[in-house]
Symmetry: C2
Subunit: 566 residues, 2 copies
Amino acid sequence: MRSSKYLLATQKETPSDAEIVSHQLMLRAGMVRKLASGLYTWLPNGLRVLSKVEQIVREEMNASGSIEIHMPTVQPSDLWQETGRWDKFGPELLRFKDRHSRDFVLGPTHEEVVTELVRREVNSYKQLPLNLFQIQAKFRDEVRPRFGVMRSREFLMKDAYSFHLSDECLQSTYDEMYAAYCRIFERLGLEYRPVLADTGSIGGSVSHEFHVLAESGEDAIVFSDNSDYAANIEKAEALAPAGERPAPSQEMQEVATPNAKTIAELVEQFDIKVEQTVKTLIVKASEESEHSLIALILRGDHELNEIKAENLTEIASPLEFASEEEIRAAVGAGPGSLGPVNLPMPVIVDRAAAHCSDFGAGANVDDKHFFGINWERDVVLGEVADLRNVVEGDPSPCGSGNLSIKRGIEVGHIFQLGDAYAKSMNAAVLNEQGKNQTLTMGCYGVGVSRIVAAAIEQNNDKYGITWPDAIAPFKLAIVPMNMHKSHRVQEVASKLYEEAKQRGIDVLFDDRKERPGVMFADIELIGIPHVIVIGDRSLDKGVIEYKNRRSGEKVEVAVEQIFDQF
Amino acid sequence: MRSSKYLLATQKETPSDAEIVSHQLMLRAGMVRKLASGLYTWLPNGLRVLSKVEQIVREEMNASGSIEIHMPTVQPSDLWQETGRWDKFGPELLRFKDRHSRDFVLGPTHEEVVTELVRREVNSYKQLPLNLFQIQAKFRDEVRPRFGVMRSREFLMKDAYSFHLSDECLQSTYDEMYAAYCRIFERLGLEYRPVLADTGSIGGSVSHEFHVLAESGEDAIVFSDNSDYAANIEKAEALAPAGERPAPSQEMQEVATPNAKTIAELVEQFDIKVEQTVKTLIVKASEESEHSLIALILRGDHELNEIKAENLTEIASPLEFASEEEIRAAVGAGPGSLGPVNLPMPVIVDRAAAHCSDFGAGANVDDKHFFGINWERDVVLGEVADLRNVVEGDPSPCGSGNLSIKRGIEVGHIFQLGDAYAKSMNAAVLNEQGKNQTLTMGCYGVGVSRIVAAAIEQNNDKYGITWPDAIAPFKLAIVPMNMHKSHRVQEVASKLYEEAKQRGIDVLFDDRKERPGVMFADIELIGIPHVIVIGDRSLDKGVIEYKNRRSGEKVEVAVEQIFDQF
C-alpha cells in the first residue's frame, strides 16, 4: 500500500474525551472514529488489525473442529420469551418493533437462536457432539459506553456453542476450546492468562476467562507463585487464616469516637491496628430469607467480594446495599458507627474477621466504638463465610504457594452451561437407547474488537503502539527520505516495495511528500514493527537503515540483505 | 472436511413455502434456514459459498484501489435528518430508540455515515480522490420478504463510496468500478451483463446495473444484436417509428362496444388489429402541474414503462394511477371506455401511438368506442414522449441493430451521485485554488448474499446445484463405496483426502456410514463440481472414477492421475 493512496488519518493531538491509552492511540493512529456514543467506524489502520485478529480466531476455531455458521443479528422476541430472558435481561437488550409491530431484539448473544437451530436440525445422538461458531457484530445497549471499542455498544464477537449428550463429552469439547483459546492468544503475540471464573448469571458449573495482561486492566486476577492456579479475584477463594483464633487479652470497652466515621480515621486517631478492626456492611436479604437486611463483617483492611456475597442464598442477587435511612431505621445509628455487638439482624462474618481477637468496631450508637471485642465472649459468632477479595501474599486456595495479583482485560470467556437453555427450549435428541434426552451445552466467546484495544493497552510506548508482528496493520514500512528530490532514493524505495509485495509482506510505502520527521512520527504512532529508512547519505555508503519498532534497535545493512532482518 | 464432523443438513423434501428454485435448493442443500420472515441463518454449506463470493469481491475492490473500512450497522437519526431521508425513506428504514430514547436506524445503506466521516477526515484536494468500501450485514424492512435470501430483510452487501472534486475524476473512478465489477463476475464464473440503468430516486446522472442472467430473473434487460448496447428495460429508449405517420384513410365512427372493456376483447370482437388501437391510462399529475390528472396514450399492444412516465415533470413520482371513481368523476365514463377524443385533461402520447392512423379507442362514454381516429384531424396531438417498454425486435436506441430481451437478476449497481449528499451535508474541501468546494460522489453496491441465490438460479439441474468452481462450497468430493466394510477403499480414500488437503484443495470426504445412493444424491444436491468415487470393483481394475458434476462426464483413471483431472 502506498500512503498517498491510503487513508492514514493520523492525528497529532490527544483527543480530550479519550480516557485510556488504547482509546487515545486508536484515535490518534487513525484506527477508529466515533459515530455516536458507543458506535465506532473502523478506519483502514484499525480494520487491518481487526481483520488479522478475526482471521487468527477463525483459523484456530476451524482447526479445533468447530464449524462456522452465520446467524441473523436481528432476532425474534419469541425465542427470548421461551428462555425467560425477554424479562430477565435489562435495558442492555435493545428491543424494537418491525413495520408489522412484531417484537425483535438486536442480538447481544445467540444462545436462543443457535438452540432453536439445533433443536430443528439435530435429531439423533449420531449428529453429536456439535460445535458451531460465528464471528459477527453484536449490540449491547450499555448505559455508559466508554473507553472506545473496549466497551462499545456495537462490537465484533466470536461466539461458539457446543451441544452434547453427556457432561464428559461437554468437558472434552470445553478442553478443546480452552486449548484453542491458548493457541489464539499465543498466535496473537499477547501476554495472556486463562483464569478460573465465576459462572454468575449465565449459570452453569465451570468457567474460565482469558485475560490480556495490562496494568490498566479493569479486572484483578490472582496467581499462585508455586502452581498453575489462576483465577479472577471474583472467584479466588480466601482461605481461613491458619491456626486457632488468639485468646482474648483485653476487656471490651466503649470509646467515644466523634471524628472517626471510617476505619482509616479510627486507625489514625486511636492506638489500634487496622488488622484489629472490623467493618460492618448492611445489604438486602434475598426473598428466601425471613429478614430484610443482613450484616456482613469484614476485617478493616479487607475488601468485600460482591460476587461471593451475592452467591450466598441468604443475600439478594444482584447485591444491594441498604441506604443510610434504612440503616438508621433498623439500627438507630449511621453507617460510620456499626459493629457486630448488639446488632438487630443476622450477621455473616468473613473467615479472616472471624479469626480476630481484641478487635474494634462500631457500637451501633452514633460516635461510639467498642475496642477489645472478642467473638463468643462479647458477641455470638454466627455464620462464617468467604466474603472478601484475596490480597497479595494470601495462601493460594490450591494449597501450594502464595498469591500474587495482576491486572487483566477480559477478552475471552468459556462456560459449561449445562441444560439451562436446552431445557427451557426443549432441545432434545434420541439417545443410543432410543430415548429422548435433553442436550447439555457449552458456550465460548471471544471479544474480537476488544482484543485490539487490549493489545494496545499491553503494547505501547510514548511514541505510539508497539504491535506484535501478527496483528500489526502493516508488517513493514518503507520510509524514503526526500524521495521527491532524489531519483536514487525513489528507485531503491520503489524496488524494495515491489520486492516486499512479491514476498507477500504486508508493506506500507510512505510515498507522501512529507518531511522525514512527520513520516517517522506517523510510522511509530501506528506501530509498524519493521521499518526501512532509505536516504542518500546511507546509500552513499551502500547501505540502508533497518529499525525495529519494539526494541528501538537500528542497524545499517546492505540493500540486498534487508529482508534477512525480520 | 469429513462429513461425519460436519453439519451437512441436506433435506430430501422440497419445502412447500419456497417459490423459486434457488430458495428450494438452498434449503434442501443445507445452505440456509429461516429464523423469521426475511431472516436467515447461513449453515456451513451456505456460508462457505457466501465467504467465497465475499472474498472475490474484497480482492477485486482492493485491486481497484478502493480502501476497506467498517462503519456501524446502527446509525444515529440526525444524519438522516440532515439529508432529508429520515422523512423521505419509507417503512423499509427500520427506526428504533435506544435506552436513552435517542432515535437510531438499522442501516440499509451508508451514504450519510460515510459522508459524515469524509467531511471530518478530508480537508484538502490532496486527499482526493478517495474510494472507501465495506462488506457488511444490512437491514431493509421489506413489506413482503420472499424468495429466501434473494429478497431478505437482513442481507450481506458490499457498498463503496467515492469522493471527488470534478466530474472527470468521478467518471474515472466510476470506470474503474465498472471494470472491477466485470472482473468480479468473471471470477465468480457467472454469465452476467452490465446494463444502463435508470438513476431513479437515488438521483445522479449515470448508472449501470450488473445482472446475472437467469430465466427466472425479475428484471427484463435488453440488448442490441449489433452493438454493445445493453440496458434495463426501465431505461431502454423506444425510438419513434421510422418514416411519416400514414395519412388518414378512414372516417371516424362511433361503435357500440358493450362487451369490450379491454383491448383484447375489442380486437377479438371487431375487425381491428391491436396495432391500430390505443389505450388510455389516467395517472396523477405532479404538484408542479396545474391539473390533477393526466392521460397517457399507448398503442394497444404496448406496455407502459412506469419509470419513464414518472420521470416526466408533469407526472407524480412515484407513479399513481387514478381510481375508477376519480376517472368517472373526471371523464364520465369507466376505465374500459377511455380514449383521446373529447378527453377533458392533458394528454401525453407515446411515440408509437403518435404514429398510428385510423386507430380505435374508447369514446369516453360507457360502452362506446371510436374507430378510424386520426391525430390532428379528429383530436389534437399534444405532447409526445417515450412512455413504453421496448419489445423484442425494436430498433436499438444506439442506432445499430435490433433489440432482444433477456431476464436478469440485479446483483450490482453503480451510480454517479453528484453532489446530492455532499451538498445537504456540507461536505467540502479546499481546492487547488484554496477555495471551499463541495464534493461530488459515486456509490457502488454489490448484493453479496443475493449473488449466491442468483448463481443458483443460473446454475442448477434436476439433481441440484451446478456450482462454478470458484464459489462451490467444496471443490472436490471423495465418495468411498462401503468404506466401512473395505479396508482397501478406506485406505485409498483417506490417502487421497490427505493429498487433496496438502494440495490446498477444498475437499469434502464423505465418510458417513450411508448407502452410496444417499451419498451421491447429497453430493449432487449441494453441487460439488468434482467427484472421486472409490470402490472395490474399480480398484480391482487399478482405477477410480472421476465425475464432473456440470458436464455429467465420467472417466476411470489410475489413482495416481486423479488430480490431473481438474
